[in-house]
Symmetry: C2
Subunit: 164 residues, 2 copies
DNA sequence: TATTGTTATACTCTATAACTATA
DNA sequence: TATAGTTATAGAGTATAACAATA
């Protein structure tokens, strides 16, 4: 959970020269919380009926973009437990979106690959998510929205997606 | 959960004139996820030993900044169930950080107020959180960090903290 | 002996429902 | 009858542990 303390009355955006004053101590937590919540709400609507839900989407993206070598590699990338991965792959495989293939070189390993239906589903959801993003950032003028994306990406890079 | 798909190889920050390209569809979810996760990790360290944890902190902030008129008002502001609120207040009251006072005007209602110990604790945690925030944004030059805070606040205001 | 994947179990959070005491 | 607060219960999501197959 993100720390979301209330903004104080004087919490108007400050000029860049300003040091964070006493009313803004928790503002980062507060704003991050609400932006994240809004995005989640929008994304959940888009992904609610996808097998596996948001997790299922993440899995499809990872499978398509990274071709992970095993369920375990996939679990580590998504930072979920290997036991949860079993259930998640079960669900997506049951829906025909992915298939498990035994690795010929190591018969302990199952490779997970998207089916054509899975790829089509992924494309649809990706497009819908892009619309959802625009709704979340809709209050910002476009240059500001792009700037926000840039800055978030810069921070995200520095704080830690697990290395490729 | 925030949708966190992997960035693609070409996901370098784009210039403001650029329309989001095909490699960036899920970038907002991805960056939001990682920034939020980093902040949460840092905040959890600061708040792990506080009674009620992060939730307890949010409650202390709300009690001090907003003086809510009842547990129910507090629960609505923090968007947690009134039943969870009971347990949370129990924990903080047991630790001597808040007290429940019956409202003289309506004996069904319990007002929640911070004790001196609660206020002192809140001040300490607020300062520690401010340090944590700076660590999360540490990779950005200070003007960029301030700009990011501004933009996040602008979006947060538009997407929905419950009105005061 | 170590590792991948599966299954079964337990634990934590949150949500639902039922109850009390006031209004 | 409706509301504030409490308690008890059930559910979802997650983590832990033991197991089978393979290296």
């Amino acid at each position: 959970m993100i720390i979301a303390s209330a903004p104080t009355a004087t919490a108007t955006p400050e000029g860049p020269g300003d040091v964070a004053g006493t009313g803004l101590e928790a503002e980062l937590g507060w704003s991050l919380h609400w932006v994240s919540t809004a995005y989640q709400r929008a994304a959940d609507l888009v992904l609610a009926d996808l097998p596996g839900g948001p997790r299922g989407y993440q899995l499809l993206v990872a499978v398509e973009d990274r071709h992970p070598s095993s369920q375990l590699a996939l679990a580590r990338w998504l930072i979920i437990d290997k036991t949860a991965m079993t259930y998640l792959v079960d669900e997506l495989e049951g829906a025909g979106l992915v298939v498990r293939r035994p690795d010929p070189a190591d018969r302990r390993v199952r490779q997970v690959a998207a089916t054509p239906a899975g790829r089509a589903e992924l494309d649809r959801r990706r497009r819908a998510l892009r619309v959802a993003e625009e709704q979340v950032l809709g209050a910002l003028p476009r240059p500001d929205a792009l700037r926000l994306r840039e800055l978030l990406v810069a921070v995200a890079r520095s704080v830690g997606p697990p290395g490729p």
